[in-house]
Amino acid sequence: MPQKGDSVRRLGELEAEIMDRLWRWDRPATVRDVVDDINRTRTVAYTTVMTVADILHRKGLLRRQKNGRAWVYEPAHSREEYTAALMQEALGHTEDRRTALLHFVECMSPEDVEALNAALRSTRQPD
């Protein structure tokens, strides 16, 4: 079902767009603020953004407070914190990591790195 996959991906992209704006603005914002900003480049329905903001809230990515009649959203954690979590998964030594991702190099001990350096130096052609 390519259509379903597409719409799921588009929702995912919208999640990223919303988070990106809230991180960039560094202040709480309403759905209206986000919709207006996205509408500068492309049209997006208010209800769609509202739904996705609600999903992000349920996932624990956004915190919200009632301000008058509208919800005001802000990120639960900074972008750096999420990046750190991502890198921890990428560099970690859990069993999950060993097969879920395929790495260019594995983490090595200083002795092994020194052995690599020696191997490289001994073969480097004088140029």
Binding site: M19, R79, T83, M87, F104, E106, M108
Partner: protein, 301 residues
Amino acid sequence: MFHHLVLPLGIALGSALLAPGLLARARWAPHAPRLAIAGWLTLAVLMTAAVGLGLAQLLLPLAGAHDTMALIVACTTAEDDAAQPNGRLYLLLGASLAAAALWPVQALAREHRRTRRARMRHADLLRLVGRRSAPLGAVVIEHAVPTVYCLPGRSPQIVVSSGAVRTLSRRQLDVALAHERAHLRGRHHWLSAAAHAFGTSFRWLPLGRHLRREVPLLLEMAADDRALRHGSRQALAAALYEMAAGQVDRGTLSLSGSSTVVRVRRLLTTERPRRAAAHGALTMLAYCLAAVPLLVTCCAL
């Protein structure tokens, strides 16, 4: 009837105990990694099938027959229906093979579920904090520790940290990205998952122990070879070193006895055997032929 057990037992013991040591030490293997991977998978299938046949052999008296091999020969060669073995025998044979495959298949299914969950979680995070770079054909994450990896699955992606972009020269980065593209294009995560699942299930056998260690390393070598179409050996080896050194300097956890050292030595060695694949194929064929007398003896008994 027990002499009919000799053949399946011989194949099982040979592929589980004897062959793994030979294949792990084979000099041609690092220079023909894809052939060696095929060899490891063949051993895994052979062992599983032999255990299934052995099981069938033990159960056959219940169904009124006594020789599995004769049964298989009858299944495949009998032309008229009268000579065909009855349905109960097929069922018994099928059930024995399925029983033997159950454990590894179950482990594979578990592995698949586990990695899929981990990948989906990772993809969610990546979508939030990653930035797609069209010139690199990769997603860049802002982090000082240099790393390059790929996330296989539904929407496969290559991920590069900004630290890696800064650390590597353009040529080194190109060849590192080509390595990851080779993983994705070759569907290496399937083989890696299969090796991990089978190896973990049978880690008490030489086959499981060796296979779990060798197949991931051979997959890396296969991807290295493919990446060499996009860069020099020197560039790839230097890229491996730069990334490893960058991760150690940043105090990330590290393991010793690294396979990366083996890969760099292989890339830089000047003594590369010629026609390693042909050599390997002939060697494996020779071992199979050596098993023929066993086969003949068993069928003649």
